[in-house]
Symmetry: C2
């Protein structure tokens, strides 16, 4: 039986499309400076991101009801501002800081690569970020998505199978007609177990200096690309 052609590309976002670490560090250091506090922005960013998977896992295991990522981020932030001594933030300032995840910068190749891929494929997010986060991010920097798809829409965080299968269903496509693009092996392999295609894109700077070894493909993928422009070339877009 012929494998149906890929019609839709869905993208992991944090780390794959945008530089969460660089964006969070810059914002934390700006805020801390404004408050006259000395903070290691990289340590803060890594601690914030470090709570990401454990906080979603509590939702995935059913220990807490469905909670959107903005609210998981906020619970972690409230803990970290105390831990790092980032005092004196008003509620408005804290809320604005929490939304730094809505304002992350894309990797330099992202917009050019997505614009090329969009001419040939449906391009959509498939992120654990909530819809409004992903939409605000896209409007802020001009990410040209055809639509925003999110764990929020199926109420299952990746790597739950429902996140991948529910997304293919919303797209009206068979899993084999949908390809996940991500910089993370666990995400891609969970998608493959659901029948989706998988493209690995290397993001050696995601975790900061000296961590490029975390950004190596460790599976059998339909494509392995240097960046989104290289992916567009490989996919004929």
């Amino acid at each position: 039986m012929a494998i149906p052609a890929v019609e839709a590309l869905v993208f992991d976002v944090f780390g794959t499309v945008v530089d969460w670490r660089g964006g969070v560090i810059a914002e934390i250091e700006r805020v801390a400076k404004g408050k006259g506090v000395a903070i290691d922005g990289a340590a803060f960013a890594d601690a914030w991101r470090g709570a990401y998977v454990p906080s979603m896992d509590r939702v995935r295991r059913g220990e807490v009801p469905w909670t959107r990522l903005d609210d998981l981020h906020r619970a972690t932030l409230d803990r970290l501002v105390v831990q790092f001594g980032l005092t004196g933030l008003s509620e408005t300032e804290t809320d604005h800081l929490n939304r730094v995840w809505h304002r992350l910068p894309p990797w330099p190749d992202a917009i050019e690569g997505l614009s090329r891929l969009k001419r040939r494929y449906i391009i959509a997010t498939l992120s654990n970020g909530n819809v409004s986060l992903l939409l605000n991010m896209a409007k802020n920097v001009g990410l040209p998505w055809d639509t925003i798809l999110s764990a929020e829409l199926v109420r299952h965080y990746k790597p739950d199978p429902e996140a991948y299968l529910g997304t293919a269903d919303l797209l009206g496509r068979k899993p084999q007609q949908v390809m996940l693009v991500a910089a993370h092996n666990n995400d891609l392999q969970a998608a493959q177990r659901c029948g989706l295609r998988a493209a690995f894109v290397a993001r050696p700077h995601e975790h900061g200096p000296g961590k490029a070894d975390r950004a190596k493909a460790s599976g059998q993928y339909d494509a392995v690309a240097e960046d989104f422009v290289d992916l567009a070339r490989q996919l004929g877009a």
Copy 2:
């Protein structure tokens, strides 16, 4: 208290953005001609659309479980091909015909108007059409949505309040920060009862010749526009 500014425009689609009647008539007449059958395409289109509200109402009343619009359309189509004597269609041909709703033509001002509005606002669908229908339609003719929102995502058809309130929630906005754009008074008034803003756009040709009286604004709206370019002008976009 100041009314917060509108940040997102959400659009009814069938009749407001695209000419469902013209699109369905053209497709039915093309298919019928190919099968050597004489059919009144306008009567077929009106009968198909005539079953739209009653079929959704059965879902809204809970008489049948959630059913996406593609499947409601198909159940009606299966009845109409018998009634109109449109025989000899294969399953593939019937499925393709059912998806004519994915391939409807936009009104002449729609793309220009949306492109202008997109520079200032988030622009999204808020349609009873399912996500894949709206996405395929957008890709087919180049409707420049920031994202596709649909009754399917909240599992409530308009005019259920959940459709409007759930959409504002996904957008991360208060209802007053969201404006529905539609050519239909009942849709706009249901949105207003939920606290959304409302803009009426006249589509005098939606129901065919001699039916322009069905396209008059009959409420108090935040804007009443001739078309999407006029709306962009009124909203400063």
